[in-house]
Each structure stands twice: as structure tokens, then as C-alpha cells.
């Protein structure tokens, strides 16, 4: 009799476990759905204006164009060309990103006409003096993080999943990130970064989303604030173009040398 009761109790426990997914499973499922919805744009060209500010209010502007090739099953390839400041005009940066291994990166220096392969194991370094690290700007691959759903939350009138995620790349600059993932767009509205000492480091806000090709949501503006230094960097995106027929050839060292 007693044994029967215990068996029934155990069985019902198992049933309830099967029905409710764990917070980890739910977080992963949301990341997979977000990845699925943002697959198929093939390639993308956009212009980006970056405004850097330090805590004294000094500011500096960088203007660049960024071309990206969607790579299935790996990180994307991207080619970035500087237009401003004028002393670095024509400097170009080619990067093959990977989720869990070092990226491959080449830099083209127009004054010397020199292509340099650069060290890229550390993805936590600042990108061109901004508050963005290389790892903040590379493509979002599911396997970059482990996930845990925390709660649902409404911010600025929009429903979000709030998910904590833990970088899996060994040289990541973060212990964890908290992402507010929009329930309708499956794109982030807000992202918080915690440094290796688990202190809150930066907050990134995504603004002015627009949908392209009836599927892909892209922000018009991204604002990154560093809470530890008081510096900030805002990115304004313009002229998004998708499915331009680009191939691997548009992302090789030969193209890097003539990129404009």
C-alpha cells in the first residue's frame, strides 16, 4: 500500500516535470526561435554613424559602411570600411566570426597598402575606441551562450522575455548578460552586460526598429552606456539593403584591398 502511494507520487512528479519546461529550456527555446526568425536575409549592407562621448562631454564621430554575409552554421562574415574620421578613410576591416573559437580578422591600411592579419582571440577589446567590444557586434549565434529565462516584463509598453545568458567563449569579457527580448519581434530591446567580476558594466538600448522584407527587424539606433567609466557610444544605422547577391568572393583578402 505504502509502496503504491510512493510510486504514484513519483509518477505524478515525473509527469509534472515533463509538462513544465525548466527556465533553462525556455531561455534556449526563445533564443532558437529568435535565430530562426532572423535567418534567410543572405547578405546585408548598411551605413553606420558612431558617436563616441566621454564623461566630460567630448565627442567624436566615426562613419563606416558595413557589409555582412550570412553564413549558415557558423558566425557571419563582415567587411567594414571607414569613411570618417578622414585620416583613417579607406581603412577596412575583414572579419570571419565564429561563436566559440577565435574570429579571423584582417586589417587593410590604405597609406601603406598593407593587409595585416590581426590577433583576434580576445573579443572583449574595445572596437575603434568605442564602448562596444568586438563580441558585442558579431553575429548572434545560439551556441554563443547558455540561457535561463528569468521572467516576463513590460518596458515602454512592449512585452519582453527577460533572459539571462552566459557566454561560452572562454575569453569573453562578461560573466553574464541580461537581455530583454521583444515578444513580437524576437529582437532585443535592452541588454545589460556584467563584467568578469559580475559587476554591472554596460547597458545597451535598441531603438527605432523597422521591419525589412516583411521579416527582418533592424534597429535604427543603438545606445551603449558604460556605467563604470561614464562613457557612451551611440550607433545610428541607415540605408539597410538585403539580398544584394553577395558571395564569399566579396569577403576575401583581394576584395579587402580594393574595398571602398
Amino acid at each position: 500500500m505504502k509502496i503504491k502511494v510512493i510510486l504514484i507520487a513519483l509518477l505524478s512528479l515525473q509527469l509534472s516535470l515533463a509538462a513544465a519546461e525548466t527556465p533553462e529550456e525556455k531561455g534556449l527555446a526563445i533564443a532558437i526561435e529568435a535565430d530562426k526568425r532572423d535567418t534567410g536575409w543572405t547578405d546585408q549592407i548598411a551605413d553606420m554613424k558612431m558617436i563616441l562621448k566621454n564623461k566630460h562631454g567630448d565627442s567624436s564621430t566615426r562613419v563606416m559602411s558595413i557589409t555582412t554575409l550570412e553564413v549558415q552554421g557558423d558566425g557571419d562574415k563582415s567587411l567594414l570600411i571607414f569613411d570618417n574620421p578622414r585620416d583613417v578613410k579607406g581603412t577596412a576591416f575583414l572579419s570571419y566570426t565564429h561563436a566559440l573559437t577565435p574570429d579571423e580578422q584582417w586589417l587593410y591600411l590604405p597609406a601603406l597598402k598593407r593587409v595585416k592579419r590581426i590577433a583576434s582571440a580576445n573579443k572583449s577589446g574595445p572596437f575603434v575606441g568605442s564602448e562596444y567590444a568586438y563580441e558585442d557586434l558579431s553575429s548572434q549565434e545560439v551556441e554563443k551562450y547558455k540561457y535561463k529565462w528569468l521572467r516576463d516584463e513590460v518596458i515602454d509598453g512592449r512585452d519582453n522575455f527577460v533572459i539571462e545568458r552566459y557566454p561560452q567563449y572562454e575569453h569573453s569579457g562578461y560573466t553574464r548578460q541580461i537581455v530583454w527580448m521583444d515578444k513580437e519581434m524576437y529582437q532585443p530591446n535592452k541588454l545589460e552586460f556584467y563584467d568578469r567580476k559580475d559587476a554591472k558594466l554596460k547597458t545597451l538600448l535598441f531603438l527605432d526598429y523597422q521591419q525589412y522584407l516583411d521579416q527582418f527587424w533592424r534597429p535604427g539606433e543603438m545606445q551603449m552606456a558604460n556605467h563604470q567609466t561614464g562613457k557612451s557610444t551611440s550607433l545610428a544605422w541607415e540605408n539597410y539593403q538585403f539580398k544584394n547577391g553577395l558571395t564569399d568572393r566579396d569577403f576575401d583578402k583581394n576584395t579587402l584591398k580594393r574595398a571602398r
Binding site: 585620416d87 598593407r114 590577433a119 577589446g125 576575401d252 583581394n254 576584395t255 580594393r258
Partner: protein, 398 residues
């Protein structure tokens, strides 16, 4: 003067058609100041400060979805003391056509080969514009036809170089020159075709995972001349540059292992004196975010070897170089590079500092400083032993 005038004509044409054709003008203009900390070796070189004005501009336009383009870059320097340094050059005047499996470039251009930092050993397509800077990073525009064949297994670059540019040497009144001086007026060639000798080069380049590799062969007029001692009518000694026909085979390799870069350049050259080999190899390690800041600090070291030893005019015959590179990663893109080259045979040392910082959005201030210690007369670098200097270079970039 004739080519200055035609270049001015082309450049004004470019300015004129830019608004119509949607081409693009960019470039810089600047003032360079050099201060020498010691008195010169010769009375005629005796100036301790020097001012210089520089202008360089590029006109660029492309069409056919960027697959065809045209670029034109004139360069002009006006120098206070050295009339040889006052010069004009066409750095680039190129038509480019790119296709899926090939790229064709016709015209005047600059091409860089190599991976190391203290010396660009295997870089050979362009002639040094040596009056600009003793670091040999400034080059004269080289006329060429260059076809790149792009395959899955790598890129083959074929070069036909129909016209040779003689190296520019500082004038007799200039600091930072050899003793005796090298003539810019008289030169000798092994080939009877002289500067019209047609040179050829072929290069294979590719990358395999962490490894970037280049294999090159050059046949033609040596870019660095041998120097022949001569005397003018009044009995003053000077050098006449002699340009041999050479064959040079070279390899350049870089392995990118985490934050460590391993670099090697090696060459085998025949036709210029005895056949010889030379190499430079080393590493660069980058510490990212040093001292808990956003700064990157790189430490680098290279060993230079040339099996001709000191019988030839080579500065890097058995030398060890160490250096540090600091990138502040700040709003002004502040950067600095310090280096020390130590000649193991003569004990001579060469110190180098380069730093730069942006001012506002359009101005760039560069600092350069070079010091020569314990130079023995046997070392060709000893000619500079009294020419320690610092340089400030302020440019407006547009």
C-alpha cells in the same frame, strides 16, 4: 616639371568632374617640423631645424557596381633645406577591373608584401622614396600591369613592370644622408636598357587557418642599388648608384595564435654581387586591456640576418630589435610605438619612437623621434650618428 603640369591638369579635371560624376576627393595637407639635437657632421649640412610642406590627394571613382574603378593620387613636398626632398610624384594613377576569378590593374600603383615591422625585407615592387623618411615606408609610384588570378587554393598575382624608378637620395646639404653623398644625377645600370628594362614578378598568397603565407619571385632591376665610389672634378668623393639585374625568391609567413603573432620573411637573391640570403623573424604579443584599462599593449621582437655580413651596405646584417606598441583606444585614437634595434656585430643602437593623436575631427598630430647610439664608422648607419632628431607632423585630413 612637365609631369607636374600634366598632373595638375588631370587633378583640376578631377575636381571639375567630381560634382558631375560622383567621384570622391580626399587627402591631406600638412606641415612637418624636424629638430636635430646635435650639430651636423659637415658644415654644409649645418641646420638644426627644418620645415616642410606636404600635400597628397586622391581622386577616386567607380562604376559597374564597384567592379571598375579609377584612382589618381598626386603627391607634393616642398622642403626648406633639401632641394632633392622638394619633389613631386604620382603615387597612383590606376584603372581597376574586378571579376569573379580575376582582378586587373593597369597604371601607376603601390604594392606591399610582407609581415614584419622593423624592416620590410621582401617588399620589392616599389622603389623607396628615401628622401621622405629613412624608414623606407614611403614609396614612389610604380608603373605596372597586374593580373590577379583568384582561385580556391589561393591568389596568383602576375606583374609586368615596364619602367624602373630610381631611388631618391637626400641632397648634399641635407641631414640624414650618407657620407659621402649619393648622386641623384648620375646612375649606372647593368642592363643596357637602363630604366626601360622590363621587370617581372609573380606572387602566390593565401591563408590556411591561422597561417597566412606568401611566396614571391622577382626578376629585374634591383630596387636597392650597389654604391660605387667616385670623385667629382674638384676631387670630392660621392657614390654612384648601380642597379643590377637580380633574381629574388622570397617567402613571408605569419601564424596567428591567440594573442601571439609569429612572423617570418626570408629571401634568396642572386645577380647583385655574390648570391645571398637574408631573413627577419620574430613575434608580436598583445596584452588586451592592460592595467584594467581599455588600452592594448603589444610587445614585439625581431631578429634580422643577412649572410653578406658587414661588407655590404646593409643595416640589418645581425641585429636584434625589440619594441612596444600602445593603443589607448580613446576618442582621439592615441597610439605609440617605441623600438630599439641593436647591431650585434658593431654594438650600434638605433632608437625609434612614433606616436599619433587626432585633434578634433580632421587634424592629426604625429610625433617621430630617432636616435643613433654608439655607431661605429664601419656601420652604414654611422652616417646618421650626428643626426638624432625629433619630428612633429601636423596634417589636415579632408
Amino acid at each position: 616639371m612637365k609631369n607636374i603640369r600634366s598632373a595638375l591638369f588631370i587633378y583640376s579635371l578631377c575636381i571639375w568632374i567630381t560634382p558631375i560624376h560622383a567621384g570622391e576627393l580626399s587627402g591631406f595637407t600638412g606641415i612637418e617640423f624636424r629638430g636635430f639635437t646635435q650639430s651636423a657632421q659637415l658644415p654644409r649640412q649645418d641646420h638644426s631645424t627644418n620645415f616642410s610642406f606636404v600635400f597628397e590627394s586622391e581622386y577616386y571613382t567607380d562604376w559597374d557596381n564597384g567592379d571598375q574603378s579609377f584612382a589618381f593620387t598626386p603627391f607634393l613636398r616642398l622642403d626648406q633645406h633639401d632641394h632633392e626632398r622638394t619633389h613631386f610624384d604620382i603615387r597612383e594613377l590606376t584603372y581597376l577591373k574586378a571579376a569573379d576569378a580575376w582582378e586587373l590593374r593597369v597604371g601607376i600603383r603601390k604594392v606591399f608584401w610582407g609581415v614584419t615591422e622593423f624592416q620590410h625585407l621582401i617588399d620589392i615592387i616599389n622603389q623607396d622614396d628615401l628622401v621622405e623618411n629613412i624608414d623606407t615606408e614611403d614609396k614612389l609610384g610604380q608603373p605596372m600591369i597586374n593580373l590577379a588570378l583568384i582561385r580556391d587554393w589561393g591568389t596568383i598575382d602576375l606583374f609586368v613592370l615596364p619602367y624602373f624608378r630610381e631611388r631618391t637620395f637626400p641632397g648634399r646639404d641635407s641631414r640624414l644622408r650618407t657620407l659621402p653623398y649619393i648622386s641623384n644625377d648620375i646612375s649606372r645600370y647593368e642592363s643596357s636598357a637602363k630604366e626601360k628594362h622590363i621587370d617581372f614578378a609573380v606572387r602566390y598568397s593565401h591563408y590556411f587557418g591561422d597561417w597566412d603565407i606568401g611566396l614571391s619571385h622577382f626578376y629585374g632591376t634591383s630596387r636597392d642599388p650597389s654604391l660605387q665610389l667616385s670623385f667629382d672634378d674638384s676631387g670630392n668623393a660621392f657614390f654612384i648608384p648601380f642597379y643590377s639585374i637580380i633574381n629574388q625568391t622570397s617567402v613571408d609567413l605569419q601564424a596567428t595564435k591567440g594573442n601571439m603573432l609569429w612572423k617570418l620573411e626570408a629571401l634568396h637573391r642572386s645577380g647583385q654581387g655574390e648570391t645571398y640570403n637574408a631573413l627577419v623573424g620574430g613575434f608580436e604579443y598583445t596584452f588586451v586591456g592592460v592595467f584594467g584599462s581599455a588600452m592594448d599593449l603589444g610587445l614585439l621582437s625581431e631578429y634580422h640576418y643577412d649572410d653578406r655580413g658587414r661588407n655590404n651596405f646593409t643595416i640589418f646584417e645581425d641585429d636584434i630589435a625589440i619594441g612596444a606598441r600602445l593603443a589607448m583606444n580613446d576618442i582621439s585614437s592615441t597610439e605609440a610605438l617605441v623600438g630599439l634595434v641593436w647591431d650585434r656585430t658593431t654594438g650600434g643602437q638605433f632608437f625609434n619612437l612614433e606616436a599619433s593623436r587626432r585633434i578634433g575631427e580632421s587634424w592629426l598630430l604625429e610625433l617621430q623621434s630617432r636616435f643613433f647610439f654608439d655607431q661605429k664608422p664601419v656601420d652604414p648607419a654611422s652616417a646618421f650618428s650626428q643626426d638624432d632628431y625629433f619630428e612633429l607632423f601636423l596634417t589636415y585630413n579632408f
